[in-house]
């Protein structure tokens, strides 16, 4: 991944020198292992701080809606799809963006690493990566872990690892996976309604309504979110199970046909709820009913913003 860092720095340096962009949104190495932060920069002196490795999961498209300036943005496959959706929704124009595309081999899940390492009561001080191996080091130990076992869940089933739009790539395109994305969704669909209700009640039970999932999402840019509305108040603000589930249902529904499964919501969740189980179901339905995949084609209208006279309607009396 070090080559990517070098290449990003090189591109950004050139862009700033030639004044192609006003600013750059990228990543900087985090202060704790496995947590890189989004980095906003305008000056060439800051270029050496730019960084890239497998812990850059944050979706930088989140910082694009309603921007006025011209920015360069570092984008993985899922981020680039989010950008396509934001362009379709008139949140930003293509001319305002210089997209530095990252062919992505999947981001890693820090929680899985912690689970493996911390069970033996050890703290991690540094994590390195080489040749498909993650090397985790701490006081008195060093551990090599197989990269493929520690991918984020959404990355393990990703079908668009390469950016769909970009101005420049930092490396060779990576091969796309062929994989069944909806295995877990189908498993739930085959359960009885009681079982499904039980499953989702249990799933959302630990939710503390912090709205981190909403804030991390590049598509949750409404000036007033439905959870903040008070007259009328559609969703209760308590952590009553009904209120919590209503929030998750509506949040997911607002992402129908827009979600690119970047996994930001799940990564942001402080209590580890698998909120993608909601959005992925809608993603599957949109694909099956309307043959649409979010953010794959520039210029395509979002599925809920258009219709075909012959759309399926067997459920309507």
């Amino acid at each position: 991944m070090f080559e990517y860092t070098e290449k990003i720095r090189e591109i950004v340096k050139r862009l700033l020198q030639d004044r192609v962009v006003d600013g750059v949104i990228g990543f900087r190495k985090g202060t704790v292992p496995m947590m890189n932060h989004p980095f906003f920069m305008k000056h060439i002196e800051q270029v050496p701080q730019l960084y890239w490795d497998s812990w850059c999961g944050v979706n930088l498209a989140n910082y694009l809606p309603k921007r006025q300036d011209k920015v360069a943005v570092v984008a993985k496959g899922c981020d680039s799809r989010s950008i396509v959706v934001l362009i379709a929704e008139n949140q930003i124009t293509r001319d305002q963006l210089y997209i530095i595309g990252i062919p992505c081999k999947g981001m890693l899940d820090r929680r899985k690493i912690y689970d493996t390492v911390r069970t033996r009561g050890r703290d991690i001080t540094d994590v390195m990566e080489r040749d498909g191996l993650i090397v985790v080091t701490g006081k008195d130990f060093s551990l090599g872990l197989d990269r493929n076992q520690y991918l984020q869940e959404n990355c393990a089933i990703c079908l668009h690892r390469n950016p769909v739009i970009y101005d420049e790539l930092v490396g060779e395109m990576v091969p796309e996976q062929e994989i069944d994305r909806y295995e877990d969704i189908r498993a739930i669909e085959s359960m009885s309604s009681e079982k499904r209700w039980e499953y989702f009640s249990k799933l959302t039970e630990p939710c503390i309504r912090c709205y981190a999932c909403r804030n991390a999402c590049p598509f949750c840019y409404c000036p007033q979110c439905f959870v903040d509305e008070s007259k009328p108040q559609w969703v209760g603000k308590t952590i009553d199970p009904t209120d919590t589930l209503t929030f998750h249902l509506l949040r997911a529904f607002h992402l129908a046909g827009r979600c690119t499964d970047c996994g930001s919501c799940e990564r942001a969740c402080p209590v580890g709820i698998r909120v993608r189980m909601f959005t992925k179901k809608l993603e599957k339905d949109v694909k099956e009913l309307y043959g649409y995949e979010a953010g794959v084609q520039l210029g395509e209208r979002p599925p809920l913003d258009t219709y075909r006279p012959e759309d399926p309607q067997d459920f309507i009396k």
Partner: protein, 143 residues
């Protein structure tokens, strides 16, 4: 306690289904008394929030009805609604809400008999699954 009767919220489009309900009444067609009608300007006006809110507040079923495709007063409102509802209905079933609770129909203002018939069907379906169990917000009792 008296025998349980289902409570059903019907969101009817002003131009078609509400007219049909009116005509059904004027024509003295027999229909179940379990339906509470809310008039909306178009089925496209129906936000998924309304359906969830009805269930949260204790409705045993929700029924949304609008104009036939192609007959929308606003030309295409019901086409958008159709996509929204297709996703919503499937999604609610996915989280465990019984499919018998949420209904959709196209009824024009001349179809009073269809209105009475569908009303009957909706009430029967909801009656079969019994009182709402899921997604009802229970008030906490404070002494």
């Amino acid at each position: 306690m008296a025998q349980w009767e289902p409570k059903i919220i019907a969101l009817l489009c002003n131009w078609c289904s509400y007219g049909a309900a009116d005509l059904a009444g004027v024509s003295r067609l027999k229909q179940p008394p379990n339906i509470r009608i809310i008039r909306v300007p178009c089925s496209g006006r129906v936000n998924p929030k309304f359906i969830l809110a009805s269930l949260r507040k204790g409705a045993d079923g929700v029924w949304v009805s609008g104009c036939h495709p192609g007959d929308c007063h606003y030309i295409e409102g019901n086409y958008y609604a159709r996509r929204k509802f297709a996703l919503l209905k499937d999604f609610l079933e996915y989280v465990g809400i019984e499919p018998e609770r949420v209904h959709f129909s196209w009824i024009s203002s001349a179809e009073a008999t269809k209105f009475a018939k569908v009303a009957e069907e909706v009430v029967d379906a909801v009656r079969k699954v019994g009182p709402a169990r899921y997604l009802v917000k229970r008030e906490v009792e404070v002494e």
